[in-house]
Symmetry: C2
Subunit: 536 residues, 2 copies
């Protein structure tokens, strides 16, 4: 059966504590969700803030091939007549084909939050829905706190739904706004509503009881055909139902149609894209789309999975665009590096000694605190260096970098770098925004006459983590840097008790890797590495 | 009804990609779980690795007042007679009162992974359980892949359970090992097993379909009285059922007894303690125990919650030891600072101008990219500075810090710092492990003769994040440092395009705050700040 999906990442998702998007981000995400085959994209609350208003103004330029853009807002305020309510006006001005409007269905809220009677509340609902229908809109009525309302006063809650339906609402969406309802009770209440109302019912769950995905699925089993949620489970407090999981469960476990099987293979990349724009790491353990979702660490699991992946994988990861991983840090994983290098025809090019040395280097770096799983750039460099012993392009002679700060003025940083290349000694001096920037400028000055292509390599993220917190400011740190050359991105890692040295090492690895790739354009190396790390 | 809880954070939890504990960590966590009232603590697989073996040897020193320590392992290997199976021997040698032993209940696994017949598998199960019972152990039979097995061949799966029960297993625990089963189907299968078997049934769910908590709850509703899971949902791939959510749901939503209402108030602190030892951030959006679980950002929600917190909170957060937060970055949150300062009697001590200035400073810092929510130390300092204008203890005259690196040798860093205090000018020079350490040493040299107490303040964590990735190595960075003086911990934040300047600012804030606290030991200030930030 076709289940329509409303994504509210751009509206309810931004209520999450750490989630914030620019208007450009929102436009890019809307485009991506449309490509994925999402049915409704709830873009914001135009009456609540100027950014959302601007989004809808600019969204007219979007070329959506499938999705219906949806504006969100409340029923009119009790004090405003319907034709002079600024919120309802903003909803209509958003110019979307569909409008979600939320109304109260919990007596506690009408009494405590709004201070109005039930009758007044029913009038707010009907007048608002009616008004939007008069303007030819498709209307989704979001029954706020429906499940709390039903528990408190079922007749009150049902009358609110009825008012919305009579006024012409196209979808009655039952919201577990506080996320407090457990699955069996939610399913019972949905079944009860299903018996009493024709037409499309929807579900909107929050994850405060850690059961939002299960609740959304149970609601579908009880007759709902419209599901709302957010990518990566973003949203207020504990988030909304995670659409990645909802969509995959509906498609793969219950054989419903949401975005369709073909689009499903883009689920993981879409989840990552949205996490990228939210500037939040995608949770490794996120079901279906996380980096660890099909990662095997235990020895028993690894050996069984190599025989038959169904033994420890509930679905083939390719169906959602994800991949199986066997973890490097595990001993069996290390043996597996060779297996994979073999598969890609690389191991044969290494002597027995070179293989052993490669494994030893990996082991040693891990012992020092390197995390190669997260730094496929550094790992790829190790493999390429094993294949091309002696090819280093340049060596450090020396660097120094000084930061000075006087009084309340901003600091100044100056660096000098001397390196040795095949052409001889090169030196450069530069001022920078900080030590990493100053060293980066010097290194590029030295190298760019010989290797102009390194101009394309840019830092895109920089993270520092303390490895031995007990040592205070003398602790060892791990620096993880993400790079991009506009065609692809990769991460390198450096470990040292000096944050500058660790950053330098990660920086040098990134530049060396780029140069290595130019010398040997062998994609099988990248493929073998990607099979393991697939980091960024 | 009493539902017994088995925590497998120390065993299945460590199969999670990023989770790793030392033996000391494991002992400390076992102690903490016992204090919380957990019934069974599954400590490891003594037959699989030396660390787990050592844990059980040292666990004999633990004084557990309630929990039963549990060793985990497999049924005997097909090739070993029962009295010479090293895994079964290791289980007995672990010396625990309870043993979990897992056996195959899915025909795919006996065929593909083990390559044995059904009859052989039944013998492995009965002989192993029998052997453990002969040694007086309480035995939990973990029916691995039970739900996949039941779907594939119900008779086969049920015969395996029967073999375990006949051999004396005390608890039959049904495992959704691959985490692929949806809630309604899981509940049906559990109900079917409940009809056929007497005695205690257990449930063990993985989160690959994002429904592990709901599945555990549904299993209890279908007659299970023993639930297994991990704190914070750690575990292989997408993790195990999150015990924080399972326990809270069972206690607060279904009125069952697990750890008891009184212990429930320690749920949040236990979750944080375990995350701390795992060296993983506790997920902000984690249900019940996360930092954002009762955080309100949307304007509508904030105003309603201030009237009646039940309007947007599914439970009173105090029941699980968590707290309500109204987010600072929100405009209404900013107004709320004053409200809270008033509540704690601090606002009255500020002039109208001082209040306005404080709000302006906060607004300006947030605009620059400071995140005061995560840095309650910096926030507390702002409040204290507003209360004590002009009291700065020291001012920077100048610093410089140089890192030099030659060839393949390690880098060397030297810093000089000159500051002005009430006594005059103080200078110091020091070498350090890196620039932050070198500056720290200089600052302490300058200040410790005047303020010896700052020796207690130590860095415990250091994080760097890039704010404007598009600017490459010239991007602005935010440095967040956590500090401890052995009595409490707090975080400070610094933002700059220079990582050293940002670190310096965070460091100076931490030292100034310590000095401020010594001058004015007014706990109401800390309380007011904690009400907002409650960061570390």
């Amino acid at each position: 059966m076709k289940i329509s999906i409303l994504d509210t990442t751009l509206r309810d998702g931004t209520q999450g504590e750490a989630v914030s998007f620019t208007v450009e981000d929102k436009l890019a995400i809307a485009q991506k969700l449309d490509e994925l085959g999402i049915d409704y994209i709830e873009g914001g609350w135009p009456g609540s803030n100027p950014r959302d208003k601007e989004f809808f103004a600019r969204a007219r330029e979007l070329k959506l091939k499938h999705a219906r853009l949806t504006a969100f807002g409340s029923t009119r305020f009790a004090k405003n007549p319907i034709d002079r309510d600024p919120n309802v006006r903003a909803l209509l001005e958003a110019g979307t084909p569909t409008i979600s409007v939320f109304g109260k269905t919990w007596d506690l809220h009408t009494q405590r939050a709004l201070g109005i009677t039930e009758e007044e509340n029913l009038v707010l609902i009907s007048e608002t829905v009616q008004r939007l229908k008069d303007h030819g809109k498709e209307v989704i009525f979001d029954a706020e706190h429906f499940f709390d309302g039903y528990r408190s006063n079922p007749a009150f809650a049902l009358r609110a739904l009825e008012a919305a339906q009579k006024a012409g609402a196209d979808i009655l969406c039952l919201c577990d706004t506080n996320g407090g309802t457990l699955t069996s009770q939610l399913a019972e209440i949905v079944a009860e509503v299903r018996k009493r109302f024709d037409g499309v019912l929807g579900i909107h769950c929050h994850n405060d009881s850690d059961v939002a995905v299960a609740n959304s699925i149970a609601a579908v089993e009880a007759g709902v055909t419209h599901v709302q949620g957010c990518f990566n489970g973003y949203g207020e407090r504990c988030g909304n139902a995670n659409l990645c999981s909802v969509i995959a469960n509906l498609e793969l476990k219950l054989n419903h149609t949401t975005i369709g099987r073909e689009n499903l293979a883009n689920l993981t990349s879409t989840a990552r894209f949205i996490a990228e724009l939210a500037n939040l790491p995608l949770r490794n353990d996120q079901p279906y789309v996380g980096h660890s979702a099909f990662a095997h660490k235990g020895g028993v699991h690894v050996s069984a999975v190599l025989k038959d992946s169904a033994t420890y994988e509930h679905i083939p990861p390719e169906l959602v665009g994800n991949r199986q991983r066997v973890l490097l840090s595990d001993l069996s994983g290390r043996a597996n590096i060779l297996f994979k290098l073999k598969q890609h025809g690389i191991a044969d090019r290494l002597s027995e000694d070179a293989r052993r040395e490669l494994l030893e280097r990996i082991k040693h770096l891990e012992f020092l605190g390197y995390e190669l799983e997260a730094a496929e750039g550094t790992f790829e460099l190790l493999v390429r260096e094993a294949l091309n012993p002696g090819l280093h392009f340049f060596e450090l002679v020396s660097f120094d970098v000084t930061t000075k700060m006087t009084g309340a003025k901003s600091s100044r940083t100056t660096a000098s770098v001397t390196i040795k290349t095949k052409d001889g000694i090169h030196s450069a001096t530069a001022s920078g925004h900080g030590p990493v920037n100053a060293l980066d400028l010097c290194l590029r000055q030295c190298l760019s006459p010989i290797y102009p292509s390194i101009a394309d390599v840019r830092l895109t993220d920089y993270k520092v983590r303390v490895l031995e917190p007990r040592k205070g400011t003398a602790a060892k740190v791990r620096v993880l840097i993400e790079w991009s050359d506009h065609r692809r991105s990769w991460a390198t890692v450096g470990v040292s008790d000096n944050v500058i040295e660790a950053s330098w090492r990660a920086m040098v690895d990134a530049i060396r890797l780029e140069l290595m790739r130019l010398v040997e354009k062998d994609e099988s190396i990248e493929k073998a590495v990607e099979d393991y790390c697939w980091g960024v």
